[in-house]
């Protein structure tokens, strides 16, 4: 395949911008255009639910250094279609972008509990910088809050609301964080959260409805939770609708190989892409995975062989006075081994080993300061032996 001369990157988030930078670093000197529907330059999404929401002076916590690709960035412009045969991206303003190399990095959006009824409900989510500003402003008045969703994002939002002096109830399907961190760590986080005043309600499911005093949460068991502020964090949906008639989707998923390749001339990276993992083909919506995938995708698009974005994912969360760093594919299932630390003091370095698949081992550091390179080395088969 000849090297492309005109590359279009769809998606202006960290995956898209990293792919653009990586194209240049791999020697691509052709025409480069990055188009994305957000009005802002790429920012750090992990910061939105951490420092930006929690710290009074964390207002710039999400800001990243400028990109180095020197291409054309079209912001506030979304893609609405892709014509693979004509090699053309269709834009929401009626414009078209021709390409001979395409990077798909359109990311995800928040899944909404009140899907289809957005206008009648006051449901906040946290996905974009605009969401974060909105939430920060509402939380400043110290309202009563119900957070729906017991995953890392829901728990981080709940933690920030508690820190801001709000009365907070968290609705979770099963114990919070169980699905991501396993039973042991889930229990540690729940204890820390309730000690700081979080009320946890486990429920089989929840829906939103409009009440007299605003939006309220109705649980599957029939209970009704009222609060001045309802925030949901129930997962995300990949932005693939614009690819609907492209022929690239497989049962609604945009599947790429370990090097980011979708088909000749088209690569994908970041939250939108489903990629091979030890747990099957799935999206890995994490910061460092988006960057790894973007670099691999850029190299693949230029015809370099043997690149792989399949590194062990890095995940971290800060909430309720706890800091957790983990390397490996979530969930952290089964019983961990204590490598170092002191459970009585809450400092722990834990390892999960998989007997049948060494690529599936994981390490987590709880309130234990350790750089990622060391954490990663503990994951390697030699360290586990």
């Amino acid at each position: 395949m000849s090297s492309p001369r005109r590359v279009v990157v769809v998606g202006g988030g960290i995956a898209g911008v990293t792919a653009a930078d990586a194209l240049r670093q791999n020697g691509f000197d052709g025409d480069l255009t990055i188009v994305g529907d957000e009005r802002y330059p790429a920012y750090s999404r992990p910061a939105l639910s951490k420092a930006l929401l929690r710290d009074p002076d964390g207002l710039t916590a999400h800001e990243l250094p400028p990109a180095i690709h020197g291409g054309t960035e079209l912001r506030g412009l979304g893609a609405v279609g892709l014509d693979v045969d004509a090699r053309m991206v269709l834009l929401d303003d009626g414009g078209r972008l021709a390409y001979d190399g395409l990077v798909i990095a359109t990311g995800c959006r928040a899944r909404r509990l009140g899907e289809g009824n957005e206008d009648a409900l006051d449901e906040l989510t946290l996905r974009t910088i605009d969401d974060a500003w909105r939430l920060r402003a509402r939380v400043a008045d110290r309202p009563s809050v119900v957070v729906v969703g017991g995953g890392p994002l829901g728990m981080e939002i709940a933690s920030s609301c508690v820190d801001n002096g709000c009365d907070v109830t968290l609705v979770s399907q099963g114990p919070p964080l169980l699905a991501q961190l396993g039973r042991h760590l889930s229990g540690v986080f729940r204890s820390a959260a309730t000690a700081r005043g979080l009320r946890v309600v486990e429920s089989a499911g929840a829906r939103l409805e409009r009440g007299d005093a605003g939006t309220r949460v109705v649980l599957a068991e029939g209970d009704v939770l009222e609060a001045a502020l309802v925030v949901t964090a129930i997962g995300d949906r990949p932005n693939v609708e614009w690819l609907g008639s492209s022929g690239l989707l497989d049962h609604g998923a945009l599947v790429a190989d370990a090097a980011g390749r979708v088909c000749p001339g088209i690569v994908a990276a970041g939250d939108v892409a489903s990629v091979p993992t030890p747990h099957g083909i799935r999206r890995v919506p994490l910061w460092s995975s988006a960057i790894d995938q973007a670099r691999a995708a850029a190299a693949s698009l230029l015809g370099f062989e043997g690149t792989s974005g399949d590194h062990r994912p890095y995940f971290w969360t800060e909430q309720f006075g706890l800091s957790l760093k983990a390397v490996g594919h979530l969930p952290l299932a089964g019983e961990p081994e204590l490598v170092d630390g002191d459970p009585a003091e809450g400092r722990m370095l834990l390892r999960w080993s998989s007997a049948h698949d060494v690529s599936d081992s994981a390490v987590a550091a709880l309130n234990y300061r350790i750089p990622i390179p060391r954490l990663r080395r503990l994951c390697e088969p030699a360290a586990a032996g």
Binding site: T18, D21, Q25, S44, P46, A47, A51, A61, E63, L64, P65, I68, W287, S288, I291, R295, Y314, W316, K325, R369, I370, P371, I372, P373, R374, L375, R376
Partner: protein, 64 residues
């Protein structure tokens, strides 16, 4: 080009060390140490430095 560290922003993740182990590292206390802060523009070191800057989730590094 100069690598600049905004120390108060640094959270000690260490993703930068993975990108540019010849230029910076975290010490035993988890504090980031710049072993070299000048890199020649266009050099392999500059590419590594740029990758280190990009991967930091709290934007504690800059290349100026």
């Amino acid at each position: 080009m100069r690598i600049e560290l905004d120390r108060p922003r640094c959270e000690g993740h260490g993703l930068c060390e993975e990108e540019a182990p010849a230029l910076l590292h975290l010490d035993d206390d988890g504090e980031l140490v710049l072993d070299r802060d000048e890199v020649a523009e266009g050099s392999p070191e500059a590419v590594a430095a740029s990758a280190a800057v990009r991967v930091c989730p709290v934007a504690a590094l800059r290349l100026a």
